[in-house]
Amino acid sequence: MSRWVGAPLPRKEDARLTTGRGLYLDDVARAGQLHAAMLRSPHAHARVVALDASAATRLPGVHAVLTGAEAAAASRPIRPLIPTPVPLPDWCLAVDRVRYAGEPVAAVAAVDRATAEDALERIRVEYEPLPPVVDPEAALRPDSPLLYSELGTNVLWHDVFAYGDVEGAFAGADGVLRERFAIQRYASTPLETFGAIAEYDAGLDAYTFWTNDQRPGLTLAILAESLGIPQARLRLVTPDVGGAFGNKRRPAYLLVCALLARRAGRPVKYLEDRLENLGALMHACNGVMDVELAYRADGTVVALRVRDVADEGKNLVSPTQHNLIKLGNIVNGYRIGAVAYEAYSVLTTKCPSGANRGIGKPFMCFAVERAMALLARRLAMDPAELRLRNYVRAEEMPYTTPPGAQYDSGDYPATLRRALERFDYAGWRAAQARARAEGRLLGIGIATSVEPAGTNLASYELITGRRAASGSAEAAMVRVEPDGRVRAALGDPASGQGYETVVAQIVADELGLTPADVDVERGFDSSTTPWLYLSGNYSNKFSVTDVGAVLGAARAVRDKLRRIAAHRLEVSVDDVELAEAEARVRGVPGRGLAIRELARTAYADVLGLPPGEPPGLEARHAHQNPLARPVGADRTVRSQLVFSNAAHCCLVEIDRRTGAVRLLRHVVVHDCGRELNPLIVEGMVHGSTVHGLGAALLEEFRYDESGQLLTATFMDYLKPTALDVPDIEVDRLEHPSPFTPLGAKGVGEGGSIPAPAAVANAVEDALAELGVTVRSLPLTPERVWRWLQNPEEAR
């Protein structure tokens, strides 16, 4: 049955992607297409006093100009994900006020990008600067300048949650560890930037969008509302996507292209340049977490209290995501019986925050795993031992955490033990002692984490008090074509995950074919791909929703093939099985019909079908993950659904002269259940881990006090190169989830979650002689060098 699922099959898509024959957004050229550029605010916060674009309109080659005021007249505001106490209209271009440096105020469509950029220089804008709001804690104060005076505050959401007897647990504890941690802004920065092409058909009053947007279901809803036309007249197509990681979504840009295309009567393409991408698309929230761990003298953690401030920047589209996801995973892999969590989602005059690989969980893990490391230090326990004492145990699965997450499967202690073994923990502790005696700064860091998959959108009811969207689901299609070959499509557009290969493996197993017989569509096309509002490439959801959709569709086609074969061979359906491109009669060698022949019956020779069987060999199926539930009366919720887990061990050495942290080894042991394609799984683990290493050591969107981004190019915003990171060493356990159709669990985000904490723990361990406490990232040479000079400032 399972001939292909589980095989480390090289990817089908690589035949085109290694030879330059992919089709990325900028490779799509629609007839007569124009190119758009956007004029962006130089101020973090200002009133737009006057805007005159008339000179831009007159430049030869310019076909359309759109100002904020015109956009507001021609479209409706973009619907926020959570309703605000008073309406805060958010149009696709800023209208009378700009709220971050880089916010677009006008756009031009011209014959080429260079001409469009020339035209931007002719637009005159008069700004009246207003005080910026840069620091999220300062933004909470009553005297802070406000982004929206009508809101009366910069706080979009504040709430306090308590699960279990928190006060009692703290009162009865032997000790309490209190620490404040911060995380910087960073992003996964896909190598291809974000963009769209919009085409308007005046005859049909309909739009087609080509875009690398990674969440088409939700985006289509927003486009229809803002353009005021039925969804039936919108088509959205995704080509090959050059990485996404949560960052690729900005409905405003699609709207700008649509309005320009309508004005110009020609297709309009907009693609960010890198400055626009780094400064204005999407950053992971920076923020502050105050953590209190109540513990017994033996190291058992009995309660956790967290105050969590998430800096959303000017994010009205998807705020509170980071808070909610932290809440849902706040105990990490530990059996902590009582939890208090206070959330602040705060607006500042910075780039909008949004989804970024692991959303919120890297900071959750950084704070919790740093606290565990500090507790081990305080109790003079080995940090591995402390964790082993506190894990949820395999025999407790499925285990429900105080806030309501259900950890479905896995063996967390075994995962850490395997990692310690692979790392040779005891050996390196001994080596470390020798190195220290020689004056070297060698450090070992451990961090472990849960890695959830699938987001239950019902969790937003905690904020809004009403349910708009809920659950986690995806849709797929499988069709045996008249020639007997197979086509499949999925509502989740891949951005590097290899779905064309993995989906082909799944379908091939169900239909008795090979992956070579199955063509999986490149991306998403709302006019042919089955899709839901929930469709998209996000939240690690492939294994927990998409696989079920593909399987459901494939099995419906499989059963139909068996019924047709049984009818034609005059045997019972139960006796027909599919193998080697045939429907065979079980136990009767040589008796069977080729799938190609059955396809001929289904599409052409339809009188040969069983009575009542409709022609065709196509099925659509949508799968809802069965674990999602509405919010409970006690405010518990399964905000995410199926849980993988991982343990990281990291070895660093610090150069005393420069403060540079060198990563010597990084071992990952992970458990994502059944691996559908181990080659692809391992690649995801490498890549996500390096995202975490970048956040730990290099990456930071730094703002100055006036709200200007100081790291807006790849010369200043440093990504890991091949020389910055070691070969990631990977090993795995395999505890299948009982709650997914093939036992697979999420794997896309994993490494990005514990890697920053593992590095931080290793750096602190290397600096043990100085007594330094690592409270924030990234651990750049400058910061570490300062600590080496003056350890007092970080104790």
Partner: protein
Amino acid sequence: MNEVAVRLRVNGRDVRASVAARRSLADFLRDDLGLTGTHVGCEHGVCGACTVLVDGRTVRSCLLLAAQLEGAEVTTVEGLTPAGGLSVLQAAFQECHALQCGFCTAGMLATAHELLAENPAPTRADIRDAIAGNLCMCTGYVNIVRAIELAARRLRESTAGRP
């Protein structure tokens, strides 16, 4: 707009063109010649996605102007691809899963090509050093290093053939 006449060879073919003086080599290859296998990732010479070979050496095509290329021999990923199949390096990239989204791949291949032409037996450290100017946001580089190692071994073991 100033136009400049240039004559060059691209992937073995003679090209004569009149280009805007401000046109980058990357835009010239992609928009004028339709060679969209070369990708533009940062347009400020850091990410390496747009790397192509000029007279056998890697260059950032976003940092060169097409008008500078008079008489040059340019090779892009299309020119590194044999008719009807994959090159040794391309096959190794597929086999080792050295790409995920594929956006950096053309530039990585150009850089690997240059490396193997100069050093047929690179160590892992040599490979990491060579590709340090090409960013990959997906793979963490592990499988790219493996793929280049594998291709180098295959090329050494075979008597002829190009990377």
